[in-house]
Protein backbone atom coordinates (compact mmCIF):
# COMPACT_ATOMS: atom_id res chain seq x y z
CA UNK A 1 0.00 0.00 0.00
CA UNK A 2 1.29 3.45 -0.88
CA UNK A 3 1.45 6.29 1.58
CA UNK A 4 0.84 9.80 0.31
CA UNK A 5 4.48 10.19 -0.64
CA UNK A 6 4.33 6.99 -2.66
CA UNK A 7 1.25 8.21 -4.51
CA UNK A 8 3.01 11.49 -5.29
CA UNK A 9 6.13 9.67 -6.40
CA UNK A 10 4.16 7.41 -8.74
CA UNK A 11 2.32 10.34 -10.27
CA UNK A 12 5.62 12.14 -10.81
CA UNK A 13 6.51 9.40 -13.30
CA UNK A 14 3.75 10.63 -15.55
CA UNK A 15 5.59 13.89 -16.07
CA UNK A 16 7.30 14.51 -19.38
CA UNK A 17 9.97 16.99 -20.29
CA UNK A 18 8.51 20.39 -21.09
CA UNK A 19 5.16 19.71 -19.42
CA UNK A 20 3.16 22.54 -17.90
CA UNK A 21 1.54 21.13 -14.79
CA UNK A 22 -1.06 22.31 -12.31
CA UNK A 23 -0.87 20.60 -8.94
CA UNK A 24 -3.82 20.80 -6.58
CA UNK A 25 -3.71 21.11 -2.83
CA UNK A 26 -2.72 18.10 -0.67
CA UNK A 27 -1.03 15.03 -2.15
CA UNK A 28 -0.77 16.65 -5.61
CA UNK A 29 1.48 19.38 -4.17
CA UNK A 30 3.93 16.68 -3.07
CA UNK A 31 4.44 15.59 -6.69
CA UNK A 32 6.75 18.58 -7.12
CA UNK A 33 9.24 16.89 -4.79
CA UNK A 34 9.64 13.86 -7.06
CA UNK A 35 10.15 15.32 -10.51
CA UNK A 36 12.48 12.83 -12.25
CA UNK A 37 16.06 13.81 -13.05
CA UNK A 38 16.60 15.33 -16.47
CA UNK A 39 12.98 16.38 -16.84
CA UNK A 40 12.00 20.00 -16.74
CA UNK A 41 8.41 20.84 -15.93
CA UNK A 42 6.84 24.23 -15.29
CA UNK A 43 4.37 24.43 -12.44
CA UNK A 44 1.31 26.58 -12.89
CA UNK A 45 -0.45 28.12 -9.93
CA UNK A 46 -3.91 29.21 -10.99
CA UNK A 47 -3.82 32.43 -8.99
CA UNK A 48 -1.47 33.73 -11.67
CA UNK A 49 1.98 32.18 -11.93
CA UNK A 50 3.91 29.92 -14.25
CA UNK A 51 7.21 28.73 -12.81
CA UNK A 52 6.39 28.08 -9.18
CA UNK A 53 9.41 27.20 -7.06
CA UNK A 54 9.80 25.64 -3.62
CA UNK A 55 8.73 27.24 -0.35
CA UNK A 56 10.91 30.22 0.55
CA UNK A 57 13.59 30.30 3.18
CA UNK A 58 12.41 32.29 6.18
CA UNK A 59 14.19 35.43 5.00
CA UNK A 60 12.75 35.20 1.48
CA UNK A 61 9.04 35.21 2.43
CA UNK A 62 7.00 37.66 0.35
CA UNK A 63 3.32 38.21 1.19
CA UNK A 64 2.71 39.15 -2.44
CA UNK A 65 3.93 35.78 -3.67
CA UNK A 66 1.64 32.88 -2.83
CA UNK A 67 0.26 29.81 -4.56
CA UNK A 68 -3.36 28.80 -5.06
CA UNK A 69 -3.29 27.14 -1.64
CA UNK A 70 -2.36 30.56 -0.21
CA UNK A 71 1.04 29.27 0.86
CA UNK A 72 4.09 31.49 0.53
CA UNK A 73 6.26 30.28 -2.34
CA UNK A 74 9.11 31.28 -4.62
CA UNK A 75 9.56 31.46 -8.37
CA UNK A 76 12.07 29.72 -10.59
CA UNK A 77 13.95 31.20 -13.52
CA UNK A 78 11.73 31.85 -16.50
CA UNK A 79 8.61 32.44 -14.46
CA UNK A 80 5.79 34.78 -15.43
CA UNK A 81 2.95 36.43 -13.53
CA UNK A 82 -0.48 37.12 -15.01
CA UNK A 83 -4.04 37.80 -13.95
CA UNK A 84 -6.68 35.23 -13.07
CA UNK A 85 -8.52 35.54 -16.39
CA UNK A 86 -5.43 34.64 -18.37
CA UNK A 87 -4.65 31.91 -15.86
CA UNK A 88 -7.96 30.15 -16.39
CA UNK A 89 -7.85 31.10 -20.04
CA UNK A 90 -4.73 29.01 -20.57
CA UNK A 91 -6.32 26.17 -18.61
CA UNK A 92 -9.52 26.27 -20.66
CA UNK A 93 -7.55 26.52 -23.90
CA UNK A 94 -5.79 23.25 -23.06
CA UNK A 95 -2.32 24.75 -22.70
CA UNK A 96 -1.73 23.03 -19.35
CA UNK A 97 -0.51 19.51 -20.12
CA UNK A 98 -1.38 17.84 -16.85
CA UNK A 99 -3.53 18.60 -13.84
CA UNK A 100 -3.23 16.59 -10.64
CA UNK A 101 -6.13 16.83 -8.21
CA UNK A 102 -7.45 15.21 -5.10
CA UNK A 103 -10.96 13.78 -5.05
CA UNK A 104 -13.59 12.55 -2.63
CA UNK A 105 -15.08 10.25 -5.26
CA UNK A 106 -14.32 9.22 -8.83
CA UNK A 107 -16.79 7.32 -11.01
CA UNK A 108 -15.79 4.66 -13.52
CA UNK A 109 -16.77 7.02 -16.37
CA UNK A 110 -14.38 9.74 -15.18
CA UNK A 111 -16.85 11.85 -13.23
CA UNK A 112 -15.31 13.50 -10.19
CA UNK A 113 -16.70 14.88 -6.94
CA UNK A 114 -14.34 16.89 -4.81
CA UNK A 115 -15.93 20.12 -3.67
CA UNK A 116 -18.96 19.65 -1.50
CA UNK A 117 -20.36 17.31 1.12
CA UNK A 118 -24.08 17.79 1.77
CA UNK A 119 -24.72 18.79 5.35
CA UNK A 120 -21.23 20.17 5.80
CA UNK A 121 -20.27 23.83 5.46
CA UNK A 122 -19.45 24.46 1.83
CA UNK A 123 -16.29 26.45 1.29
CA UNK A 124 -16.61 26.72 -2.46
CA UNK A 125 -15.21 25.10 -5.54
CA UNK A 126 -12.37 27.57 -6.06
CA UNK A 127 -10.74 26.71 -9.36
CA UNK A 128 -11.62 23.01 -9.29
CA UNK A 129 -14.55 23.15 -11.68
CA UNK A 130 -12.58 25.14 -14.24
CA UNK A 131 -9.66 22.74 -13.96
CA UNK A 132 -11.68 19.55 -14.31
CA UNK A 133 -13.87 20.89 -17.10
CA UNK A 134 -11.03 22.13 -19.23
CA UNK A 135 -7.74 20.41 -18.46
CA UNK A 136 -6.78 17.98 -21.17
CA UNK A 137 -5.17 15.41 -18.88
CA UNK A 138 -6.34 14.95 -15.30
CA UNK A 139 -4.84 12.52 -12.84
CA UNK A 140 -6.54 12.07 -9.49
CA UNK A 141 -4.47 11.35 -6.41
CA UNK A 142 -6.62 9.82 -3.71
CA UNK A 143 -7.10 7.24 -1.02
CA UNK A 144 -8.88 4.23 -2.47
CA UNK A 145 -11.33 3.99 0.42
CA UNK A 146 -12.82 6.31 2.98
CA UNK A 147 -12.17 5.92 6.70
CA UNK A 148 -15.01 3.42 7.03
CA UNK A 149 -13.38 1.29 4.32
CA UNK A 150 -15.89 2.11 1.59
CA UNK A 151 -14.58 2.41 -1.94
CA UNK A 152 -14.24 5.90 -3.36
CA UNK A 153 -13.88 4.47 -6.89
CA UNK A 154 -17.55 4.15 -7.69
CA UNK A 155 -19.99 3.21 -10.43
CA UNK A 156 -21.49 6.68 -9.97
CA UNK A 157 -20.60 9.61 -7.74
CA UNK A 158 -22.92 10.06 -4.76
CA UNK A 159 -21.59 13.51 -3.80
CA UNK A 160 -22.28 16.66 -5.82
CA UNK A 161 -20.34 16.51 -9.08
CA UNK A 162 -17.37 18.78 -9.83
CA UNK A 163 -17.07 17.70 -13.44
CA UNK A 164 -18.30 15.04 -15.85
CA UNK A 165 -16.17 12.41 -17.56
CA UNK A 166 -12.94 14.30 -17.13
CA UNK A 167 -10.58 12.10 -15.07
CA UNK A 168 -8.11 10.16 -17.19
CA UNK A 169 -6.21 8.28 -14.50
CA UNK A 170 -6.42 7.55 -10.78
CA UNK A 171 -3.43 6.82 -8.58
CA UNK A 172 -4.61 5.53 -5.23
CA UNK A 173 -2.83 3.86 -2.33
CA UNK A 174 -3.76 0.53 -3.98
CA UNK A 175 -2.87 1.00 -7.60
CA UNK A 176 -2.90 2.91 -10.86
CA UNK A 177 -6.09 2.94 -12.95
CA UNK A 178 -6.71 4.31 -16.41
CA UNK A 179 -10.27 5.39 -16.94
CA UNK A 180 -11.63 3.73 -20.04
CA UNK A 181 -15.06 3.41 -21.52
CA UNK A 182 -15.36 0.11 -19.69
CA UNK A 183 -14.35 1.46 -16.30
CA UNK A 184 -11.23 1.52 -14.12
CA UNK A 185 -8.46 -0.35 -15.92
CA UNK A 186 -5.91 -1.50 -13.37
CA UNK A 187 -2.46 -1.07 -14.87
CA UNK A 188 -0.23 -1.31 -11.79
CA UNK A 189 -0.65 -2.65 -8.29
CA UNK A 190 0.82 -0.93 -5.26
CA UNK A 191 3.62 -2.97 -3.62
CA UNK A 192 2.17 -5.96 -1.79
CA UNK A 193 -1.40 -5.42 -2.92
CA UNK A 194 -3.18 -8.26 -4.69
CA UNK A 195 -5.63 -7.92 -7.54
CA UNK A 196 -8.18 -9.68 -5.34
CA UNK A 197 -7.83 -7.02 -2.68
CA UNK A 198 -8.18 -4.25 -5.27
CA UNK A 199 -11.24 -5.97 -6.71
CA UNK A 200 -12.78 -6.15 -3.24
CA UNK A 201 -12.10 -2.45 -2.59
CA UNK A 202 -13.31 -1.11 -5.94
CA UNK A 203 -17.05 -0.49 -6.25
CA UNK A 204 -16.96 0.80 -9.84
CA UNK A 205 -16.40 -1.39 -12.89
CA UNK A 206 -12.87 -2.75 -12.74
CA UNK A 207 -10.89 -4.18 -15.64
CA UNK A 208 -8.03 -6.54 -14.97
CA UNK A 209 -6.32 -7.98 -18.01
CA UNK A 210 -3.97 -10.85 -17.24
CA UNK A 211 -1.04 -10.31 -14.93
CA UNK A 212 -0.93 -6.79 -13.55
CA UNK A 213 2.59 -5.69 -12.64
CA UNK A 214 3.47 -4.40 -9.22
CA UNK A 215 4.94 -0.92 -9.39
CA UNK A 216 8.66 -0.69 -8.83
CA UNK A 217 10.34 2.32 -7.27
CA UNK A 218 14.07 2.74 -7.71
Amino acid sequence: MLDKFGIAKRIARELQDGYYVNLGIGIPTLVANYIPEGIEVVLQSENGLLGMGPFPFADEVDADLINAGKQTITTVKGSAFFDSAMSFGMIRAGKVDLTVLGAMEVADNGDIANWKVPGKMVKGMGGAMDLVAAAKNIIVAMQHCDKAGNSKLLPKCTLPITGLGCVKKVVSDLGVFNITEHGFHLIERAPGISTDFITEKTAGRLIINGEVPEMIFD
Binding site: K70, R92, K123, G124, M125, D130, L164
Partner: protein, 235 residues
Protein backbone atom coordinates in the same frame (compact mmCIF):
# COMPACT_ATOMS: atom_id res chain seq x y z
CA UNK B 1 -6.61 64.33 -14.65
CA UNK B 2 -8.41 64.73 -11.37
CA UNK B 3 -8.20 61.20 -10.15
CA UNK B 4 -6.22 61.67 -6.99
CA UNK B 5 -8.10 61.50 -3.73
CA UNK B 6 -6.64 62.15 -0.31
CA UNK B 7 -7.24 58.80 1.28
CA UNK B 8 -9.49 55.77 1.52
CA UNK B 9 -12.24 57.67 3.36
CA UNK B 10 -12.57 60.12 0.49
CA UNK B 11 -12.31 57.35 -2.10
CA UNK B 12 -15.25 55.36 -0.70
CA UNK B 13 -17.23 58.37 0.46
CA UNK B 14 -20.10 57.97 -2.02
CA UNK B 15 -20.53 54.23 -1.70
CA UNK B 16 -24.12 53.84 -0.51
CA UNK B 17 -26.00 51.14 1.34
CA UNK B 18 -27.02 48.40 -1.07
CA UNK B 19 -24.16 48.98 -3.51
CA UNK B 20 -22.51 46.17 -5.46
CA UNK B 21 -18.76 46.31 -5.05
CA UNK B 22 -15.90 44.25 -6.36
CA UNK B 23 -12.88 43.78 -4.15
CA UNK B 24 -9.58 42.60 -5.62
CA UNK B 25 -7.28 40.06 -4.08
CA UNK B 26 -6.77 36.32 -3.75
CA UNK B 27 -6.96 35.13 -0.16
CA UNK B 28 -5.35 37.98 1.77
CA UNK B 29 -2.89 38.67 -1.06
CA UNK B 30 -3.34 41.95 -2.91
CA UNK B 31 -6.44 43.08 -1.03
CA UNK B 32 -7.37 46.78 -0.71
CA UNK B 33 -6.67 47.02 3.01
CA UNK B 34 -7.14 50.76 3.32
CA UNK B 35 -10.51 50.82 1.57
CA UNK B 36 -11.80 47.88 3.57
CA UNK B 37 -10.92 49.71 6.78
CA UNK B 38 -12.65 52.83 5.44
CA UNK B 39 -15.76 50.88 4.51
CA UNK B 40 -15.90 49.40 8.00
CA UNK B 41 -15.52 52.85 9.53
CA UNK B 42 -18.15 54.29 7.21
CA UNK B 43 -20.53 51.55 8.26
CA UNK B 44 -22.19 51.17 4.88
CA UNK B 45 -24.61 48.22 4.92
CA UNK B 46 -26.40 45.74 2.76
CA UNK B 47 -23.55 45.38 0.32
CA UNK B 48 -23.18 42.82 -2.41
CA UNK B 49 -19.49 41.96 -2.54
CA UNK B 50 -17.83 40.25 -5.47
CA UNK B 51 -14.50 38.88 -4.34
CA UNK B 52 -12.77 35.57 -4.86
CA UNK B 53 -12.54 35.04 -1.11
CA UNK B 54 -14.12 36.47 2.00
CA UNK B 55 -11.10 37.20 4.16
CA UNK B 56 -10.52 35.70 7.60
CA UNK B 57 -12.36 36.53 10.80
CA UNK B 58 -10.17 39.45 11.75
CA UNK B 59 -8.72 40.64 8.44
CA UNK B 60 -9.80 41.59 4.97
CA UNK B 61 -13.45 41.23 4.06
CA UNK B 62 -13.91 39.35 7.33
CA UNK B 63 -13.85 42.76 9.05
CA UNK B 64 -16.91 43.81 7.06
CA UNK B 65 -18.63 40.53 7.86
CA UNK B 66 -18.05 41.15 11.56
CA UNK B 67 -19.93 44.43 11.19
CA UNK B 68 -22.71 42.71 9.23
CA UNK B 69 -22.23 45.06 6.32
CA UNK B 70 -22.60 42.40 3.65
CA UNK B 71 -25.91 41.04 2.41
CA UNK B 72 -24.50 38.84 -0.33
CA UNK B 73 -21.08 37.43 -1.19
CA UNK B 74 -20.21 36.31 -4.72
CA UNK B 75 -17.04 34.23 -4.38
CA UNK B 76 -15.35 31.05 -5.47
CA UNK B 77 -13.98 29.98 -2.09
CA UNK B 78 -14.85 31.36 1.30
CA UNK B 79 -12.25 29.49 3.31
CA UNK B 80 -11.96 29.46 7.05
CA UNK B 81 -14.13 32.15 8.49
CA UNK B 82 -16.30 31.39 11.52
CA UNK B 83 -18.43 34.52 11.34
CA UNK B 84 -19.07 33.91 7.65
CA UNK B 85 -20.26 30.41 8.45
CA UNK B 86 -22.49 31.62 11.26
CA UNK B 87 -24.19 34.26 9.11
CA UNK B 88 -24.60 31.82 6.23
CA UNK B 89 -26.20 29.15 8.40
CA UNK B 90 -28.47 31.68 10.12
CA UNK B 91 -29.64 32.97 6.77
CA UNK B 92 -28.33 36.51 7.36
CA UNK B 93 -25.87 36.20 4.51
CA UNK B 94 -26.57 35.08 0.98
CA UNK B 95 -23.75 33.37 -0.87
CA UNK B 96 -23.29 32.74 -4.54
CA UNK B 97 -20.42 30.35 -5.13
CA UNK B 98 -19.08 30.35 -8.66
CA UNK B 99 -16.03 28.74 -10.24
CA UNK B 100 -12.89 30.82 -9.95
CA UNK B 101 -12.23 31.01 -13.67
CA UNK B 102 -15.83 31.98 -14.29
CA UNK B 103 -15.52 34.72 -11.68
CA UNK B 104 -12.39 36.06 -13.36
CA UNK B 105 -13.88 35.85 -16.83
CA UNK B 106 -17.12 37.58 -15.84
CA UNK B 107 -15.02 40.50 -14.57
CA UNK B 108 -13.01 40.61 -17.76
CA UNK B 109 -16.17 40.43 -19.85
CA UNK B 110 -17.49 43.55 -18.12
CA UNK B 111 -14.24 45.40 -18.78
CA UNK B 112 -14.16 44.31 -22.41
CA UNK B 113 -17.77 45.14 -23.22
CA UNK B 114 -18.75 41.54 -23.67
CA UNK B 115 -22.24 40.95 -22.25
CA UNK B 116 -21.74 37.24 -21.70
CA UNK B 117 -19.21 34.48 -22.20
CA UNK B 118 -19.28 30.73 -22.64
CA UNK B 119 -17.32 28.53 -20.28
CA UNK B 120 -16.89 24.81 -19.79
CA UNK B 121 -16.66 25.16 -16.03
CA UNK B 122 -19.61 23.78 -14.11
CA UNK B 123 -21.33 21.87 -16.87
CA UNK B 124 -23.12 18.88 -15.36
CA UNK B 125 -22.88 20.32 -11.87
CA UNK B 126 -25.27 22.26 -9.69
CA UNK B 127 -23.57 25.43 -10.93
CA UNK B 128 -25.28 24.82 -14.27
CA UNK B 129 -28.77 24.73 -12.78
CA UNK B 130 -31.02 27.18 -14.56
CA UNK B 131 -28.28 28.27 -16.93
CA UNK B 132 -28.28 28.19 -20.69
CA UNK B 133 -26.17 25.39 -22.13
CA UNK B 134 -24.75 25.47 -25.61
CA UNK B 135 -22.63 23.05 -27.54
CA UNK B 136 -19.64 24.10 -29.61
CA UNK B 137 -17.47 21.51 -31.37
CA UNK B 138 -18.96 18.71 -29.32
CA UNK B 139 -18.33 20.31 -25.93
CA UNK B 140 -20.97 21.80 -23.69
CA UNK B 141 -20.59 25.30 -22.32
CA UNK B 142 -22.51 27.44 -19.85
CA UNK B 143 -23.51 30.97 -20.77
CA UNK B 144 -22.31 33.26 -17.99
CA UNK B 145 -23.05 36.97 -17.79
CA UNK B 146 -20.67 39.88 -17.31
CA UNK B 147 -20.77 41.36 -13.82
CA UNK B 148 -22.46 44.67 -13.29
CA UNK B 149 -20.91 46.42 -10.32
CA UNK B 150 -21.17 49.96 -9.02
CA UNK B 151 -17.65 50.09 -7.66
CA UNK B 152 -14.47 48.12 -8.09
CA UNK B 153 -11.85 48.51 -5.38
CA UNK B 154 -8.39 47.27 -6.17
CA UNK B 155 -4.93 47.31 -4.68
CA UNK B 156 -1.85 47.88 -6.83
CA UNK B 157 1.84 48.04 -6.18
CA UNK B 158 2.55 51.23 -8.12
CA UNK B 159 0.27 53.74 -9.69
CA UNK B 160 0.58 57.12 -11.33
CA UNK B 161 -1.51 60.27 -11.34
CA UNK B 162 -3.20 59.15 -14.59
CA UNK B 163 -4.44 56.01 -12.85
CA UNK B 164 -2.06 53.61 -14.57
CA UNK B 165 -1.40 50.59 -12.37
CA UNK B 166 1.31 47.98 -11.95
CA UNK B 167 0.73 44.97 -9.72
CA UNK B 168 3.34 42.88 -7.98
CA UNK B 169 3.78 39.12 -8.35
CA UNK B 170 0.66 37.10 -7.47
CA UNK B 171 -0.92 40.12 -5.83
CA UNK B 172 -2.09 40.82 -9.39
CA UNK B 173 -4.75 38.04 -9.40
CA UNK B 174 -8.24 39.55 -9.80
CA UNK B 175 -7.16 43.17 -9.38
CA UNK B 176 -6.67 44.19 -13.04
CA UNK B 177 -9.86 42.35 -14.04
CA UNK B 178 -11.98 44.08 -11.44
CA UNK B 179 -10.30 47.39 -12.19
CA UNK B 180 -11.74 47.09 -15.70
CA UNK B 181 -15.18 46.09 -14.50
CA UNK B 182 -16.33 48.76 -12.09
CA UNK B 183 -18.58 51.65 -13.11
CA UNK B 184 -16.34 53.55 -10.71
CA UNK B 185 -12.93 52.05 -10.04
CA UNK B 186 -10.93 52.96 -6.95
CA UNK B 187 -7.27 52.02 -6.76
CA UNK B 188 -5.13 52.13 -3.66
CA UNK B 189 -1.43 51.80 -4.33
CA UNK B 190 1.68 51.31 -2.28
CA UNK B 191 3.50 53.94 -4.26
CA UNK B 192 1.89 56.79 -6.17
CA UNK B 193 4.17 58.51 -8.68
CA UNK B 194 3.74 61.40 -11.12
CA UNK B 195 2.61 60.56 -14.65
CA UNK B 196 5.63 59.69 -16.73
CA UNK B 197 7.51 57.73 -14.09
CA UNK B 198 6.06 54.36 -14.97
CA UNK B 199 7.25 52.65 -18.13
CA UNK B 200 4.24 52.62 -20.51
CA UNK B 201 5.30 49.18 -21.68
CA UNK B 202 4.93 47.75 -18.17
CA UNK B 203 1.46 49.03 -17.25
CA UNK B 204 -0.98 46.27 -16.30
CA UNK B 205 -4.08 48.46 -16.01
CA UNK B 206 -4.26 51.55 -18.22
CA UNK B 207 -5.52 54.62 -16.39
CA UNK B 208 -8.68 54.85 -18.48
CA UNK B 209 -10.15 52.17 -16.22
CA UNK B 210 -9.30 53.95 -12.97
CA UNK B 211 -11.37 56.83 -11.61
CA UNK B 212 -9.83 57.44 -8.18
CA UNK B 213 -6.39 56.70 -6.87
CA UNK B 214 -4.50 57.26 -3.64
CA UNK B 215 -1.40 56.07 -1.89
CA UNK B 216 -2.38 53.72 0.91
CA UNK B 217 -0.80 53.58 4.34
CA UNK B 218 0.24 50.99 6.89
CA UNK B 219 -0.05 47.87 4.78
CA UNK B 220 -0.07 44.82 6.98
CA UNK B 221 -0.09 42.30 4.12
CA UNK B 222 -1.03 39.48 6.40
CA UNK B 223 0.07 36.01 5.33
CA UNK B 224 -2.60 33.33 5.52
CA UNK B 225 -0.37 30.25 5.22
CA UNK B 226 3.21 30.96 6.10
CA UNK B 227 5.23 28.12 4.60
CA UNK B 228 9.01 28.05 4.55
CA UNK B 229 11.75 25.51 4.04
CA UNK B 230 14.78 25.06 6.19
CA UNK B 231 18.16 26.28 5.08
CA UNK B 232 19.60 22.75 5.06
CA UNK B 233 17.23 21.77 2.25
CA UNK B 234 18.95 24.16 -0.10
CA UNK B 235 20.54 22.51 -3.10
Amino acid sequence: MRKIVKNAAEAVNDIQDGATIMLGGFGLCGIPENCITALVKKGVKNLTCISNNAGVDDFGIGLMLQQKQIRKMISSYVGENAEFERQLLSGELEVDLIPQGTLATRCMAAGYGMPAVFTLAGFGTEVAEGKEIREFNGKKYLLEYAFDSDFAIVKAWKGDTHGNLIFKATARNFNPLMAMAGKITIAEVEELVPAGELNPNEIHTPGIYVHRIFQGVNYEKRIEQLTTRKQEHAR
